[in-house]
């Protein structure tokens, strides 16, 4: 059975000028120990998906439809207090900017110990001992001394290691890592990703890894989901999506450019911008930018359907459009 099931998730933001739909019909699953990479342009809804899963959408944002299930148990409609017990204990979270995620007024050891005593049946002394062990595990040198240091006494990379320790210390089954290396120096990004990947593998922790970095996805993820305008438009095994993307958008994103046909001049840089939430076009949200757009795309919305080895939301892969798919050169 899958560890996490997200089914038809819909997130809305009521605003003065009408309701914005930030996530629309998002469905995916993560198996125990699996790493799901999530990619997509800025504003696609990647962070929103993570926040909805851990129940920390910022008001007035709210889950307006669908379900989130953890080990089969519905968690999207739990009372705050019950969901709180799941956060940290069952689902850990890693945020983007390690310079702002740690409380400046508490030592890293205290923050680790507090998280562990909240969730695990251990006393302060044991928690302190484990805090040192966790710091060692994430590669903080001289952990026994550093455990009493404050966040400002660490470099950015070291702080993100501390954040990783904090996310994993109550031994959750799933970690939602939202661009864990974007804010870090390029030279240490690879180390931190490697650490995260190895720790997750060692502990058997599944991971939802949001990132802009295709290299990281290719190396770390088992499967990958591509998001666009609040929807998942393609999902599949990482090899297939990276090397042989089906959806025109992911194909452009991965740089796996189909042979230039008479209709497509260039696709390297995807032209245009993702629509704002208030102006998502009817039909396929990608249709204003898609080089293969045809009439149906402008009126009917495509669901995820089998496409190559993956599943993609694109009408080209509807059996009745096989002719068009041939002509597009995507097949």
């Amino acid at each position: 059975m899958s560890l996490l099931q997200v089914q038809n998730l819909r997130v809305e933001f009521p605003t003065r000028r009408g309701t914005l739909v930030a996530l629309d019909d998002v469905s995916f699953e993560i198996a125990p120990g699996e790493v799901l990479g999530v990619v997509g342009e800025s504003g696609a809804g990647k962070s929103m998906t993570g926040a909805a899963i851990i129940g920390l959408l910022e008001p007035p944002g709210r889950i307006a439809g669908g379900q989130v299930r953890l080990e089969g148990r519905r968690i999207d409609n739990l009372p705050y207090e019950e969901l709180r017990r799941i956060r940290g204990r069952q689902i850990g979270a890693i945020f983007q900017d390690p310079l702002t995620t740690l409380n400046p007024l508490y030592t890293v050891g205290d923050q680790l110990a507090e998280t562990m005593t909240t969730h695990l049946p251990i006393g302060p002394a044991e928690a302190k001992k484990r805090a040192v062990e966790w710091l060692e595990l994430v590669g903080i040198p001289a952990a026994a001394q550093r455990v009493d240091s404050y966040p400002h006494e660490f470099s950015g990379g070291m702080r993100q290691r501390v954040v990783i320790a904090l996310a994993l210390c109550a031994e959750p089954k799933l970690v939602v890592a939202d661009e864990p290396t974007t804010a870090l120096d390029v030279s240490i990004q690879a180390q931190v990703i490697a650490l995260l990947k190895n720790l997750a593998r060692e502990k058997g922790t599944a991971m939802m890894l949001v990132t802009h970095d295709m290299g990281v996805i290719a190396e770390t993820a088992d499967r990958v989901a591509v998001m666009y305008a609040g929807r998942i438009i393609e999902i599949g095994a990482v090899r297939e999506v990276v090397k042989n993307a089906a959806h025109p958008y992911s194909a452009g994103l991965m740089g796996s450019i189909p042979p230039i046909s008479h209709r497509v001049e260039r696709l390297q840089a995807i032209e245009g911008a993702m629509p704002r939430l208030s102006a998502i076009p009817p039909g396929c949200p990608y249709n204003p930018r898609c080089p293969f757009v045809f009439d149906r795309c402008r009126v009917e919305r495509p669901e995820l359907m089998p496409a190559k080895a993956n599943r993609a939301a694109c009408w080209l892969y509807a059996p009745e459009e096989a002719q068009r798919l041939q002509e597009s050169g995507l097949a």
Binding site: R84, R87, Y150
Partner: protein, 326 residues
């Protein structure tokens, strides 16, 4: 730590010097002390004697140094009005003002901080709206009016609490306290509320806006994402991060409470330093005014030092470069 205190004390030195100079200048240039002390009938010989006795024939700088030396020993001469040593007068009045100010500050903090936390957490509840409206009144009504209204309601109409004076006091050495008698405590309530109300609303608004700011930060989101209970997130992680600005303002306000107790003391005929100061201004009693000025400056300087020490205790980032480094 020790060097930190010493450096802060050294920084305070120029402030105290400037204030002493102003006090001294009051002595030297406001009114003619000799004329005030001699009264109407005197001989030239008497005048000369007094001038020598007061050291007024010495050069300006020497006079200032003498004044400073005396001030450090708490010597401010005799009050013109009461012909008693100024130090004695102040020591007599100080306990009343300090007790009043401290009670006002405690009320302001003990009520203002929880109200600020509540209104910061539950922005839209009707109780928050009530607190905010109430705080607007506290900010906009002048102190004397609040005092008079309280007297009207609780002393005149209801007759529950006295409208003036300090009640019975108990002597503990040179300190006279009203905190140990029933009538002393009753007499303290109205003036303390009057004096503390403005600070209370100020602290409430400050804590509220700081809380709202802090609750938006990533580390609070992360604390929630780690599944910490609300109590720990709100009162541990969030409130602690609002403390630095709250300590600053509270410290400054404590100084202000002591300095501006004048109005409250006048309304309630509270026998403190403020009342003494007002009476001294009326009588151009320069020594008392000068001593009061310097005392208030000393209070502000010490409060600032305490505030700095509290910063140091609360925020580890300020300890950079002392002890543990990067």
């Amino acid at each position: 730590m020790f060097s930190f205190i010493v450096s802060r004390l050294l920084q305070a030195l120029p402030v105290m010097l400037v204030v002493s100079f102003i006090s001294f200048a009051m002595f030297a240039y406001v009114g003619d002390p000799v004329a005030i002390m001699l009264g109407q009938d005197f001989t030239e010989a008497q005048r000369q004697a007094l001038v020598r006795e007061l050291g007024l024939d010495k050069p300006f700088f020497v006079q200032f140094m003498t004044f400073l030396g005396n001030a450090i020993q708490g010597e401010f001469g005799l009050s013109y009005r009461l012909s008693r040593p100024v130090a004695e007068l102040i020591a007599e009045r100080a306990p009343a003002t300090l007790e009043l100010a401290l009670c006002a500050a405690v009320i302001a903090m003990a009520v203002g901080v929880p109200m600020g936390v509540y209104t910061g957490l539950y922005r839209n509840s009707w109780l928050s709206r009530f607190f905010l409206t109430f705080s607007l009144i506290g900010v906009s009504l002048p102190t004397f009016l609040i005092g008079i209204l309280l007297i009207l309601v609780f002393s005149v109409w209801l007759g529950w609490l006295p409208s003036f004076g300090r009640g019975d006091v108990v002597r503990l050495g040179w300190w006279s306290t009203g905190l140990l008698t029933w009538s002393g405590l009753k007499a303290l309530i109205l003036p303390a509320i009057t004096l503390g109300l403005f600070q209370l609303t100020l602290i409430m608004r400050l804590v509220r806006s700081e809380m709202m700011e802090v609750l938006r930060t990533d580390y609070i989101k992360f604390a929630r994402a780690r599944g910490l209970p609300n109590r720990a997130v709100h009162f541990g992680h969030a409130l602690k991060n609002t403390l630095v600005p709250v300590i600053t303002i509270a410290g400054l306000q404590l100084g202000a409470i002591i300095a501006f107790a004048i109005v409250t003391e006048t309304v309630f005929q509270w026998p403190g330093m403020g009342l003494l100061f007002i009476q001294s201004v009326g009588a151009a009693d320069i020594p008392v005014m000068a001593a009061y000025l310097m005392m208030i400056a000393a209070v502000f300087v010490s409060i600032n030092l305490i505030v700095d020490l509290l910063y140091y205790a609360v925020d580890p980032r300020l300890r950079i470069g002392r002890g543990r480094g990067h």
